[in-house]
Amino acid sequence: MTDALFTYVLRLADDAAILGQRLGEWCGHAPTLEEDIGLANVALDHVGQARALYSYAAEVEGKGRDEDQLCFLRVERAFRNCLLVEQPNGDFAQTIARQLFFSAFMLPFWEKLTGSSDATLSAIAAKAEKEAAYHLRHASEWTIRLGDGTAESHRRMQEAIDLLWPYTGELFEADDTVSELVAAGIAVDPQGLRAGWLATLSRVLEEATLTLPAQGWMQTGGRDGRHSESFGHLLSEMQYMQRAYPGHTW
């Protein structure tokens, strides 16, 4: 059970940390000043979630590691985040599509997780739920603006949706780790969130005059540490300081 809980919390932590890292890359380069602030804010929420989750994972593991060791001193194949969050920022439409897919899943996920029998997870979820509500609203509004904006923004937004769609399947994967914890009342069964997720997307994409892609084949591998080629480059930057100065405090 401890192993499963560690793995489960680590997955959530990696999702938050890697998405926060990607969003942080925008800093100073966003299309408007308001979005420079907005994306930094979304990044900050995810880094905050990552801190809480890594700390809890470290506690569950009980081997004396801390949040930074988990984030900065694991190798690529040990990361358990889903492939969606590690996808490169691309243009603003891709960043928004990534956030839309993710937050539309995470909002009901955190909502459900507040009912977890694990008090720490429940507390983390309560805070994260409020943040995810903002993230989803932010991404939805932009999806609608871009989808129902100019011909160019419509094209870019649809391309972004189509490009990232195959990475959404992983959100609903449930392996033995998940099943065991769902049975124990600790974890959320992601399958139960699929209908709501699709409904949210349909509503937003319809207002955005965009098309929901057909199901089709889905990418997988993130939960098993098989990431995209871009991920190693992300890590080399993210982990550089801790790698170059092992054992220092900052």
């Binding site: 100073g28 380069h29 299309p31 904006g149 160019e152 923004s153 930057e237 300081m241 220092h248």
Partner: protein, 315 residues
Amino acid sequence: AERLAAFQARIDAEEKIEPNDWMPAAYRKTLVRQISQHAHSEIVGMLPEGNWITRAPTLKRKAALLAKVQDEGGHGLYLYSAAETLGVSREELTEQLLSGRAKYSSIFNYPTLTWADIGAIGWLVDGAAIMNQIPLCRCSFGPYARAMIRVCKEESFHQRQGYELLLEMCRSSEEQKAMVQDALDRWWWPSLMMFGPSDTHSTHSAQSMAWKIKRFTNDELRQKFVDATVPQAHFLGLTIPDDKLAFDAESGHWTFGEIDWDEFSRVIAGDGPCNRERLSARQKAHEAGAWVREAALAHAEKRAARRAAAQVAAE
């Protein structure tokens, strides 16, 4: 002339001038220049710090840095808004920045080379900025004064955070302390330059003082900064990179060496280590984001048209 006298009387009585009040054209022009330069500095200032967000050594520091850069964007927003109350649009101001006509604080033309630079910017650059800005909280122009109150509060927090970051590094290892010393060596003099030319060469100053846009001369503020900062450096166990630095017991001030005014003018004029990178980064972001801004505008227009049509239909 009568209006001018009445205006000056209000200023002398420490009343706040508000956007709809009458004001001399030169007062307006001076404020627009100063507020927009200040806003541009916040925006460009996001870049050297943003350079380290992806490489922050801990999650806690990454979060703090993100929050700080976000605050700076927020300062830029208030300040652009304050400038807008004087009748100049954000588009105009942005265009001035991107074309290279508008100035911003020349300190941001220096690169952040190590993580210690992030602490040094908080400690020295925000420290110098606060020194400059605290008197502006009593500036005669209301919107600017009010913006400054909020900005100063946040920047004090950033400064303490920067100092604390350096303290942690200095305590952690000799290697890190050397990084901090190196950062101080590189940022000290550019920080002193942030207060502008010495009083003997400063244009604009006397009129700005009379208008209570300025309350202290450049050299007065620089001296305050040096007096406040030198003991902080010593507490960290660092050496200020200035042979001439000495404490004058009589005046209670730290005397210091001559600033390299050639470097100051050169960097202001465009030949600093990062001037071109900074401008080019802003330009690229602006160009790459053009389609997004156009889409937002187009969508707002569509919505407005649909709302209007619905209203007509309802009538």
